[in-house]
């Protein structure tokens, strides 16, 4: 019974372990080590975890008696999390918060990453909950890590309060699920549900509703999105990027895992709920973003809308939908990181770098970053042939395929509305006037962020041209969800 098979859990273990190591590295007396050690260690750990994820690629392996899985699905998502985390580490080079809290910063990032990986690789409800909590708790701290900034504190506290409520809902949902099936293991829950036609069972219904609410909160889907803009705005920009990519991916992974992995038999019970939050997210996110002048808030609303698109894929309940969702996660990762990289750099260059106006005429001073931002925005808006387009195309296609054509139409209308605010950014960059009086300062080199930005922008393009192989991978991952 006690099948430990620790190898299958190595990626998580590496990351979690290094989290502790970096924390201690920040305490060692040698200044040089204090300065660079934690970041280097974190980077190394992340790369090592990626390598391990690659090595483990293949059919499902179970660790710790099936509480942690390593299959195509979890490993693929590991890449999303690890890339996001790596980006944050690179962002944090010379980041004020990171300089101040040398050990804690990478340690918390790694802890949060480990939480995400646990979510994707969980094999039972406890691991899942642990993962969710681990990533959230670390993020609460990260949001507020710039304790000298009132906004950062406010952001952390808001996130904590609403997040705790969300977690409570989620946990209660898990309890209900346990109550309905009498098991905590995914495989057994799935078997239980398929065997004893539990559809419309009150406990199951309650579980579904509560889980949708809890995960919807994590994915910042409307109407559980209210915290998103405030927290995104207040948190350090690197963390915001991490939240909007990693957390969202983790939440979406949990959605996929629960609804497509273990509850496919009762699709009728949960589909409507997911459609509801998907539509609400698309509508709210896109409309609210129309009037935003703060780039981070704008990206926050945009991420709400993007969550809506991602949920479309889940709502279909088909392999094609899951596949599209996974592809779009990668595309979304690339374009969001690119966008945040530019915001981050601009923040360090000018005092109010997160204002939309600060980008006015930016292409004159920094054409490369202007192109990066343009690609990111166009891709987010779904302009072909960028990866954002391909992803949306797949998502809407899967919706049409699942007889949810109207959902695709809603999504498409939403993306038209979104064009307005995305292109406003592009317009400001290219067509705006430069303000000669603006104080330009440079807070040290921003190479790390630049590298991330350029790489992400290139990835946003490359994903299009490599659609075929990547989709194959995604399909494998999606199929492994349903494998017994």
């Amino acid at each position: 019974m006690a099948d430990i098979n620790i190898v299958a859990a190595t990626p998580v273990i590496i990351v979690a372990g290094t989290s502790v190591v970096t924390l201690s590295l920040g305490l060692v007396p040698w200044r040089r080590v204090r300065l660079y050690g934690p970041l280097l260690a974190a980077g190394t750990a992340l790369i090592a975890a990626m390598v391990m994820s690659g090595v483990l690629w293949g059919d499902r392996q179970l660790a710790f008696d099936g509480n942690i899985r390593a299959d195509r699905f979890s490993l693929l998502l590991n890449f999303v999390f690890l890339i996001a985390a790596l980006a944050v580490i690179m962002f944090s080079w010379r980041e004020p918060a990171s300089v101040d809290r040398r050990g804690e910063w990478p340690s918390l990032v790694l802890a949060s990453t480990a939480g995400m990986m646990l979510v994707a690789g969980s094999g039972d409800l406890i691991t899942l909950f642990l993962g969710i909590e681990l990533l959230s708790v670390a993020l609460y701290a990260l949001c507020a890590i710039e304790v000298w900034r009132e906004r950062s504190l406010e952001s952390g506290l808001k996130y904590l309060i609403v997040g705790a409520v969300g977690s409570a809902f989620f946990l209660y949902g898990l309890a209900m699920l346990f109550g309905a099936t009498g098991s905590l293991k995914f495989s057994e829950i799935g078997r239980e549900i398929s065997q004893q036609s539990l559809a419309n069972e009150p406990f199951l219904l309650a579980a579904i509703a509560l889980i949708v609410v809890g995960l919807g909160f994590k994915a910042s889907a409307a109407p559980f999105h209210m915290w998103t803009p405030d927290v995104y705005e207040g948190a350090p920009t690197g963390i915001t990027a991490f939240m909007s990519t990693g957390t969202k991916a983790a939440a979406i992974a949990a959605f996929l895992l629960i609804f497509q992995g273990i509850l496919p038999g009762v699709e009728g019970d949960w589909q409507a709920a997911i459609i509801t939050i998907a539509v609400a997210s698309i509508v709210v996110g896109n409309i609210a973003a129309l009037v935003q002048r703060n780039l981070k808030r704008l990206l926050a609303y945009s991420s709400i809308a993007q969550a809506g698109y991602l949920l479309i894929g889940i709502a279909t309940g088909t392999i094609a939908g899951a596949e599209a969702t996974l592809y779009y996660l990668f595309a979304y990762l690339a374009m969001t990181l690119a966008a945040f990289a530019v915001v981050l750099i601009r923040e360090r260059q000018v005092p109010d770098g997160e204002r939309l106006e600060s980008l006015s005429g930016y292409w004159r001073t920094s054409p490369l970053l202007a192109v990066v931002m343009t690609i990111a925005m166009l891709s987010l808006a779904g302009f072909p042939p960028l990866s954002g387009f391909v992803g949306k195309f797949l998502l809407f296609g899967s919706a049409v395929d699942a007889d949810l054509a109207w959902l695709a139409v809603v999504g498409a209308i939403g993306s038209v509305v979104s064009v307005v605010y995305y292109l406003r950014v592009v317009g400001v960059i290219w067509f705006g006037q430069t303000d000669p009086e603006r104080e330009e300062r440079r807070l040290g080199p921003v190479t790390g962020a630049t590298v991330v930005g350029v790489t992400s922008a290139l990835a946003a393009i490359a994903l299009t041209f490599a659609t075929n192989p990547i989709l194959d991978v995604c399909r494998g991952a999606a199929e492994s969800l349903l494998a017994p």
Partner: protein, 526 residues
């Protein structure tokens, strides 16, 4: 061929600014000329009687999405491709001769626009078509946004939003088409040629056609979807306005002819009357409004609204004559409008903000320009004997065979064309000499002649030997309109017999997915 300008664009952007503008110019010219040369090569090897796509090139791209690189030209596409390469080459020459600020970027965007349009005209895959359709928007939006006048923000916003609404509808239609087609035949494909064979039910066909038609109508623009036109045409740099009117509008009519009518004959048939009505309204409305414009540029812009109405008539008549005339007129209109805008550019050197009443009597100081303008004006108002007359004549001939009312009402546009073009010509070149700027600036210089001469020569060539173009379109047009003719219940002797019949509906179901075809066919749309 399509990629040549794109590669050149990459080079242009990659060249460091220090080395000066010459290599950039050279690179841009090379890109445009390579495309032109490739085009000539294709033209030389083109089988004029074939209805099939020729020079097909296929590459896997994203099979699961149905996206693949699948391009080729037929008798319709080749002329639009030619028009694109020629006009963009001229545009690049014109840019080099009278460079705007930040010339390299402008050239780069021009080349990217050319790429998108070439891709659009050759795409044989609905998704690819859509990709290029959208890609076309970006360079034009940038050119308006960076080099436009002070009104550009509003204009750009409107332009982008309108077109995005259109593309969105089209996107839904594109996806819908493939899925509905799969339900009907069991084959999942976005290939346009294969989709032609699909036997959609009338409802499916109507709905999908409506989606495409709306997108095309906005891009055209067809009345009343032209809300973006005045601002965009007004705010863009003149060269860009010219390209918008000359080439980009063709994308929409081309789509109608390539996708709309052949793939959804029943739907097209159901929309005949509404589209014809809108086209006719557009012709009259555009003409009347053009007449009352104060600015030369807007006059031409609105006239373009009217002329595109004619092309729509020709396509929606489902008539071989009308269709061939429409293709010819696409080329004609592209040339004539480009030449018209070029003339406006020359005149405006002596005028105040392109206002018509700011100059008059320029014939006295600019006799050569007067001749050229006269020639172009006559072509624009389609005087018998001009190239545009050939197109309009046969468009209306075709339309008249089936929809007497539409053709008859459209002739109002011919009369108004005379009125507004003469207004433009006479007010600026006749009467007592008066100019805001230096009147002699309006004379044709050698620089202007370099890019205007090819346009004028092309106009004359088509006027004297239209068969060179029209001859190659017949087979393709027959193939395109035959299904729609059948759908319109035309008498059998009037239905064109395509040289290459459309392939029979593919009935090879995918492995493991063998739908009950009879049930599917009989069933209502899902």
């Amino acid at each position: 061929m399509i990629l040549a300008p794109f590669v050149a664009a990459l080079f242009v952007i990659a060249l460091p600014p220090q080395i000066g503008v010459l290599p950039v110019r050279a690179m841009a010219m090379v890109g445009a000329l390579v495309a032109l040369a490739a085009n000539c090569y294709i033209l030389a090897g083109f089988d004029r009687d074939g209805a099939e796509l020729q020079f097909v090139d296929t590459q896997e791209w994203a099979t699961q999405v149905g996206l693949e690189w699948n391009v080729g030209v037929d008798g319709i596409a080749i002329w639009l491709v030619l028009l694109t390469t020629v006009l963009f080459t001229l545009a690049i020459i014109a840019t080099i001769l009278r460079p705007p600020s930040r010339e390299p970027q402008f050239l780069m965007l021009l080349l990217m626009g050319e790429t998108a349009l070439l891709g659009l005209f050759t795409a044989n895959n609905l998704v690819l078509f859509y990709v290029f359709w959208e890609a076309m928007l970006i360079p034009f939006a940038f050119m308006i946004g960076i080099w436009g006048n002070e009104d550009r923000r509003e204009a750009l916003m409107r332009f982008v939003v309108y077109t995005m609404v259109g593309s969105l509808v089209m996107l839904v239609a594109v996806v819908g088409t493939a899925f509905v087609a799969r339900d009907v035949t069991g084959q999942f494909t976005y290939e346009i040629q294969a989709l032609r064979a699909v036997d959609f039910t009338e409802t499916q066909s109507t709905l999908l056609f409506a989606g495409f038609a709306l997108a095309f109508a906005i891009k055209l623009p067809l009345w009343p979807f032209h809300g973006w036109l005045p601002r965009a045409y007004g705010a863009a740099p003149l060269l860009v306005t010219a390209l918008l009117a000359a080439v980009m509008s063709k994308a929409a009519v081309y789509g109608l002819l390539r996708v709309g009518v052949p793939v959804f004959p029943e739907g097209a048939d159901n929309f005949t009357i509404p589209l014809l009505t809108l086209a006719v309204i557009g012709i009259v409305y555009g003409s009347v409004v053009a007449w009352r414009q104060d600015s030369m540029r807007m006059l031409i812009g609105y006239s373009s609204l009217a002329h595109l109405g004619f092309i729509v008539l020709g396509i929606m008549a489902f008539d071989v004559i009308g269709g061939q005339g429409a293709v010819l007129q696409m080329v004609n209109h592209g040339i004539v409008v480009a030449a018209s805008f070029a003339i406006v550019a020359v005149i405006s050197r002596a005028a105040n903000r392109e206002m018509i009443d700011s100059v008059s009597g320029l014939s006295a100081v600019a006799p050569r320009m007067a001749y050229v303008f006269l020639l172009v004006a006559m072509a624009a108002l389609a005087i018998p004997g001009s190239n545009a007359f050939v197109g309009e004549f046969f468009i209306l001939t075709g339309t008249f065979r089936w929809h007497v009312w539409a053709a008859s009402l459209a002739t109002i546009g011919i009369v108004y064309a005379a009125i507004y073009m003469l207004r433009l010509y006479q007010d600026s070149f006749m009467g007592p000499l008066r100019a805001t700027g230096r009147a002699t600036d309006a004379e044709l210089t050698v620089k202007d002649a370099i890019y205007m001469a090819p346009l004028v020569l092309a106009m004359l060539f088509i006027a004297f030997y239209p068969a060179a173009l029209v001859g190659a379109t017949e087979a393709s047009i027959k193939r395109a309109v035959a299904p729609a003719q059948i759908a319109a219940d035309r008498p059998p002797e009037d239905i064109a017999e395509p040289v290459v019949p459309n392939p029979p509906p593919a009935v090879q179901p995918l492995p493991g997915d063998e739908p009950d075809l009879t049930a599917e066919d009989a069933g209502a749309p899902r």
